[in-house]
């Protein structure tokens, strides 16, 4: 772990942020919605939850964030991507189960980790189009006592609304990490075992919060 030196702490803090960032207040579909709006709403909700973290408690944070997560992220799509080729092999019931489990895991992760406020804020850097109609929104998480963390969001448009499909923190893609991590478990132990492990993580997050 010595090779994981110096700026790497920031790295993995960034990974933390990537694994954590999934909130936005409920929003109505808008025909001319912008990708930036989705990210802004997410960030605003995130700051609010952090400021009220103690009063809300884990359950309160979970309930507040659940609609936000499902609205600002395309979790069905992300579930498909992180399973890779396995998605084509499993039944419709298993797919529904995967989306449900992954959604609860995502909300639980953020409810567990966004449990305090130390003056953080988000700064919008730029927005630019990507291939296949996607948009890239570059932002920074500004921390008063530390270096800022670069957070890039990749969004696509679905049913008239821009939804986040990936967060890249200091160059580390949450989607790629999960795809590799989950793929390893599927390869070694199978899809059912992956679901079991994700359920165990959900329980651990709730217990540890």
């Amino acid at each position: 772990m010595i090779g994981f030196r110096k700026r790497s702490e920031c790295t993995v803090l960034a990974v933390v942020a990537a694994l954590i960032l999934f909130f936005a207040p409920p929003m109505a579909p808008a025909e001319n919605a912008k990708a930036q709006d989705t990210v802004d709403r997410l960030h605003s909700a995130l700051i609010e939850v952090m400021k009220n973290a103690d009063a809300l408690g884990f359950e309160g944070r979970w309930k507040t964030l659940a609609p936000v997560v499902t609205d600002s992220y395309d979790l069905a799509y992300i579930s498909e991507i992180v399973l890779g080729r396995e998605w084509d092999k499993i039944s419709q019931d298993d797919r529904r189960q995967m989306i449900d489990t992954f959604t609860r895991l995502t909300v639980s992760t953020y409810a567990a980790r966004f449990d305090g406020f130390s003056g953080e804020s988000f700064r919008h850097m730029e927005e630019k189009p990507m291939n296949r109609g996607r948009m890239l929104v570059r932002t920074e998480l500004v921390r008063p006592a530390d270096e800022p963390v670069h957070l890039d969001y990749v969004l696509h448009e679905k049913e008239g609304q821009w939804r986040i499909v990936n967060v890249v923190a200091e160059g580390v893609s949450d989607l790629s990490l999960k795809r590799a991590d989950y793929g390893s478990i599927i390869k070694q132990e199978g899809f059912k075992k992956l679901l079991e492990k994700l359920e165990t993580q959900i329980v651990a997050l709730r217990a540890g919060a």
């Binding site: 772990m1 010595i2 090779g3 994981f4 030196r5 110096k6 700026r7 790497s8 702490e9 790295t11 993995v12 803090l13 960034a14 990974v15 933390v16 694994l19 395309d74 799509y77 498909e80 991507i81 992760t109 990507m130 291939n131 296949r132 109609g133 996607r134 890239l136 670069h150 890039d152 990749v154 696509h156 679905k158 990936n166 890249v168 200091e170 160059g171 580390v172 893609s173 989607l175 790629s176 990490l177 590799a180 991590d181 989950y182 793929g183 390893s184 478990i185 070694q188 992956l194 492990k197 994700l198 993580q201 651990a204 540890g208």
Partner: protein
């Protein structure tokens, strides 16, 4: 490390580099992906490193954080960052980033004088940016591909290209040239401080990863690529395979 001991360590790390390079058939650079043909060996070294960390380094670094007040830890961190900055400067010049290199010299001079021997990060306070470069990044800038992924015993994640950073950092570090009575205890403090900085990262990995080896490998490789491009990797890095929904 004195010169003799330091040279021994340097020779050992170079030998390790050459050995691993020789036994690894390096496939062509696949862009973002770095192959891992020695996964079985790497996993064994990962377990070894992790066991060592959980048994010794982790508890020692947590003890260090507990007994050392934060201002003192910041001073220690600044001191070692300043000491290691000579390596950054050398690599800035090797990569042709002359302006950054000269700024780096300025940074070390100010921190070593007004910053009380590096204990105070004076340069950052007056707006001189702290950067990071190493010899692996220099090789990448020179066009050398990452080769294969490697988990090195004691040193952790690397590649057959990036492992050359270890001997390069050793010879560009001032501790290589001083008496072991000074360099060994200082090196030990540097190690503990570095581990303490990684505490949150390692804890996150342990809490989040289903397969910690894969998680660390992917995170490290992606982060590494981002560093090589100084935080601005090509946009295609952010693209991914699947088509958008219909």
């Amino acid at each position: 490390m004195d010169r003799g001991t330091g040279r021994g360590a340097l020779a050992l790390s170079l030998l390790l580099c050459v050995f691993i390079s020789a036994c690894a058939t390096v496939p062509a650079d696949k862009g973002v992906e770095t192959p891992d043909p020695l996964e079985s060996m790497n996993r064994a070294f990962f377990s070894f490193n992790d066991t060592l960390d959980k048994a010794i380094l982790g508890p020692v670094s947590r003890g260090y954080v507990k007994v050392t007040p934060e201002p003192a830890r910041n001073g220690i961190r600044n001191f070692f960052d300043n000491l290691g900055y000579i390596s950054v400067i050398v690599n800035e010049f090797l990569q042709g980033k002359f302006e950054n290199g000269f700024e780096g010299i300025q940074r070390v001079v100010f921190n070593s004088t007004f910053g009380l021997g590096g204990l105070v990060n004076f340069s950052s306070a007056i707006g001189i940016q702290q950067r990071y470069e190493d010899f692996g990044e220099t090789l990448a800038v020179w066009g050398v591909g990452p080769g294969i992924y490697l988990e090195l015993p004691f040193f952790g994640p690397s590649t057959s290209r990036d492992m050359f950073s270890i001997p390069a950092r050793t010879v560009t570090g001032p501790l290589f040239y001083v008496d072991p009575v000074i360099s060994i205890p200082l090196g030990a403090v540097d190690l503990v401080d570095t581990r303490a900085r990684l505490e949150s990262a390692i804890r996150l990995r342990d809490e989040t990863a289903l397969d910690p080896y894969i998680f660390q490998r992917e995170a490290w490789l992606q982060r590494r690529r981002n560093m090589i491009f100084d935080g601005n990797p090509p946009p295609e890095d952010l693209e991914f395979y699947a088509p958008p929904p219909q």
